[in-house]
């Protein structure tokens, strides 16, 4: 009957809505697991320069072959998860903490401070960030720590903007007003009411920020500005680029790994946005 068809359709839509979050969460868990268990999962030490040079797929037990230095590509990919996750998490953390504090304070305290901060945010949004990151990394030290810090320092404005908007509306919310009349201090309110209640959009944005951080790191590595002391996918592409026709596996799998990881973060971000979007949680209070 008609209603049956409607039913399946509705179910499909719901699953479709949730599936992103599900995939995202499972994907992240998977990546985390791989990151934690890298030493167990990787068949070989990726920092070991073996005798097998430029072996193809499966040759001599190298699942994804080896590179010109004799490193096992599969093991490198596995260890690369660590670098990518580290870059993603730490830079996003820096960006989120900065953004939340700056945006939260500006939005909640308002007034001239807010005007100044929000104009700064607007100005900062106009800054060509990749250019800036590139410049700093190229000119100063290209250690992975620097990369993470610089990404964090240049991407906070979007978080600040989000949380500021949240703070602006939250401070008009009744529960904040009522907290004031209950005698709570401004800092208490900022940390107890404004930030916890306004953090979700930042969270969703942060996962997107994480994917961008991974891509940025890869881009820098591709320009030869990666940190040689760690194994990163971007660097594998950079290194594998010269072998792209003869030993295509070096750059190709690293690229695939980036695509998959970034996709997982995007899925998570979208899923979060989806779930947190009030339009999807219909139904009024009560129940």
């Amino acid at each position: 009957m008609l209603s049956v068809k409607k039913n399946t359709y509705a179910t499909f839509k719901v699953i479709n809505g949730d599936i992103q979050l599900k995939l995202g969460v499972f994907g992240i868990l998977f990546l985390l697991l791989v990151g934690i268990l890298s030493p167990i999962l990787a068949p070989l030490d990726p920092y070991h320069y073996g005798q097998d040079i430029l072996n193809g797929l499966g040759v001599n037990g190298h699942l994804l072959g080896t590179n010109h230095l004799g490193q096992d590509v599969f093991s490198m990919i596995i260890y690369g998860v660590r670098t990518s996750l580290m870059v993603a998490v730490i830079s996003a953390l820096i960006s989120a903490v900065l953004g939340i504090l700056i945006g939260g304070i500006a939005g909640y305290f308002g007034g001239k401070l807010d005007l100044i901060v929000s104009e700064c945010i607007n100005a900062f949004m106009m800054v060509p960030t990749f250019f800036l990151i590139l410049l700093v990394i190229a000119l100063f030290d290209n250690s992975i720590t620097n990369v993470m810090i610089v990404i964090g320092l240049t991407t906070w404005p979007s978080n600040a903007k989000l949380i500021r908007a949240q703070a602006l509306s939250l401070r008009e919310r009744t529960f904040v007003k009522s907290a004031i009349t209950m005698g709570e201090s401004k800092t208490q309110i900022l940390f107890k009411y404004i930030i916890p209640n306004g953090i979700f959009p930042v969270l969703a944005n942060t996962t997107i920020g994480m994917s961008n951080a991974i891509l940025t790191e890869a881009g820098l590595s591709f320009l030869g500005l990666g940190d040689p002391n760690v194994i990163s996918w971007g660097q594998m592409i950079f290194m594998g680029k010269q072998y792209i026709t003869s030993a295509w596996w070096i750059a190709t799998f690293a690229g695939v790994a980036i695509v998959l990881t970034v996709t997982v973060f995007y899925l998570l971000g979208d899923g979060l946005n989806h779930v947190l979007n009030p339009k999807h949680s219909n139904g009024k209070g009560g129940e």
């Binding site: 001239k112 005007l115 009744t174 529960f175 709570e184 209640n197 209070g285």
Partner: protein, 331 residues
């Protein structure tokens, strides 16, 4: 006039917001424009009195409430409670002021942070103000309060999150929480307008009972003129930030003198289908409170307006004992 100073004296209180200029730099050069949300309002109230405030949307009722509760700092004026300047009090002892003055908000669904349980929500203010020594003691206080408000079983309700309770329950909790401080002055800003009609009466009755018990003075802000009449002893009618008429509630409803009050009341429909409605039409939409004046703010819409009305803001006239009208053509 009176020998004894009133319990609560609202003294020429004003709240002017600067017209929002979105640009930091241009705002410096531009001439400031002011939204006079509340403009020189003076009211005196006795202990235990209930004042209803009515008026069109945007006339400054809520702003008045917020200023009285010091959620906003008034541009001008002060409020004295028992002859104590609340401005001074805020500076010296904010917490004491907070315990003296409480506000009940319109939207019970939004009065509590969604992340905490009712228990956490109720205990926090007690802790802040050092009421009760141990958490157990504080819990006891809360449970007693909830049960007195008909919220049973109290300890079960305390475990819930706000979204697991109905609007009526939440509004009760909100009122009960305010009462924990035994405030002397309560501002209720449309406390029932978001609630289902059928549960309104219970909330209103509870508010009235509690404030009578504590002998607190109440300002009751509402759109609903019939309800305001039911609740309050006195009524103040506001228009664009000014009180245009003030008096005993029955006097105001039955014998309004200000043209605006007359229009307001005539437009207010009743549930009595037989009632003859003869509405007074006033032209136009309410103007914005940006730099109003210089004459009577209502003049442009007034059916009685004369030339003079546009020139000078009319003085408040006491037309009968305790009935004050800010209109030169009230007769």
């Amino acid at each position: 006039m009176k020998t004894k100073s009133p319990f609560i004296k609202i003294d020429k209180i004003s709240m002017w917001y600067p017209q929002k200029s979105k640009n930091l730099f241009m705002s410096i050069r531009e001439e400031r424009k002011w939204i006079k949300a509340v403009d020189q309002v003076s009211i005196e109230l006795e202990r235990g009195e209930i004042l209803g405030v009515i008026g069109e949307s945007g006339c400054g009722k809520s702003t008045l409430g917020k200023v009285l509760a010091r959620l906003e700092n008034p541009t001008n004026g002060d409020v004295y409670i028992d002859s104590v300047s609340t401005k001074e009090l805020m500076k010296k002892d904010t917490k004491k002021f907070r315990r003296m003055v409480q506000i009940v908000f319109q939207n019970p669904f939004d009065t509590f942070t969604p992340r905490d349980t009712i228990e956490q929500i109720l205990l926090r203010p007690l802790k802040i103000h050092g009421i009760g020594k141990t958490n157990a003691e504080r819990r006891e206080i809360c449970i007693k309060a909830l049960e007195s408000g008909g919220l049973r079983p109290a300890d079960e309700i305390m475990k819930r999150y706000p979204h697991e309770l109905s609007g009526g329950q939440l509004q009760r909790i909100s009122i009960l929480r305010s009462m924990l401080f035994e405030p002397k002055f309560i501002i209720a800003d449309e406390p029932v307008s978001m609630l289902d009609v059928s549960v309104r009466s219970e909330i209103i009755n509870m508010l009235l009972t509690l404030s009578k018990e504590k002998n607190a003075t109440v300002i009751f802000i509402s759109h609903d003129i019939a309800l305001t009449r039911y609740v309050s002893d006195k009524i103040a009618v506001m228009y664009l930030g000014k009180v245009v008429e003030y008096g005993d509630s029955d006097t105001i409803i039955n014998n309004p003198k200000h043209p605006y009050t007359q229009a307001l009341i005539s437009n207010c429909s009743s549930i009595d289908p037989d009632e003859q409605r003869e509405i007074i039409k006033i032209q136009g939409e309410p103007p914005t409170p940006v730099n109003p004046g210089p004459g009577c703010y209502f003049a442009s819409r007034c059916f009685k307006a004369s030339k003079e009305c546009f020139q000078k803001y009319p003085a408040a006239t006491e037309v009968s004992e305790g009935h004050i009208v800010a209109c030169d053509r009230w007769y």
